[in-house]
Symmetry: C2
Subunit: 151 residues, 2 copies
């Protein structure tokens, strides 16, 4: 009854990757509901956790969105008391988006949730198989990044 027949072997593998990505997304959505946050705001907090206090320009670049959009995201996170805008010590135009105590705790929860998810997913996979899995992933992403370059 299906309109489309597309199941070749590589396609099936890609579909499984996408399925896993969907499940991971669902896990993140649970975290977001618990914390009363949204995906873009969590993404911003994640970047903030990696870099520490950052200008909105840098955040825009890291998130791949326009600076104007970061203004809106930061507005929301200020309203929910996850971050504050601090003056940039060396540039009076810029603000340093800085996590509050709540923000720091949220980022820590996010990281531990991420690690726990990885453990649940891959913790029981035998070492040799997991190594092969990771290698194929690395080769694949590397080759794909090269293909993107060529265009």
């Amino acid at each position: 009854m299906k309109y489309i027949h597309y199941m070749t072997a590589p396609t099936e593998v890609l579909d499984r990757v996408l399925h896993l990505a969907t499940l991971v997304q669902a896990d993140l959505a649970r975290f977001e509901r618990e914390q009363g946050l949204t995906t873009p705001r969590v993404h911003l907090l994640w970047v903030l956790g990696e870099t520490g206090p950052t200008t909105q320009q840098s955040l825009a670049q890291a998130l791949g969105v326009t600076p104007r959009n970061v203004t809106g995201l930061v507005d929301g996170l200020v309203a929910s008391a996850h971050v504050t805008r601090e003056p940039h010590p060396g540039d009076r135009r810029a603000t340093l988006v800085t996590p509050t105590d709540l923000g720091t705790r949220t980022i820590a929860d996010l990281v531990s949730s991420h690690v726990a998810l990885a453990q649940r997913l891959f913790g029981d996979v035998p070492t040799a198989r997991l190594a092969t899995f990771a290698e194929v992933l690395e080769e694949t992403t590397h080759r794909f990044a090269q293909l993107m370059e060529e265009e």
Copy 2:
């Protein structure tokens, strides 16, 4: 260049999976720009390609959004002439969202782009390695789906 085989950490593997998902997403974004479509609309078309003409209720369930939202997505796809609303033969309340010629062609392009991406990603991976990769994926998603059930 590595001579020592360090044990692969689950978190590192998860990060690689997410990285690959990001690259795939970027490839889809290219398709969307070319076709003048958005991710939710492409998703709807994809489902339509799998199921054939469908009620908006079914689409809402398949997409995991509210029926009201499907109304809006279908409005957009009707405006861009990708689908039409046809009367449901057995239920005068319902409409059958049906791809137009353009919609059918777009779905075909989407599928072939999907297959081509899979080929570019996994086409050159040796069969045995790809099989292990797919197995780990399957075990992982299966185990994870079970863990989600228990809560």
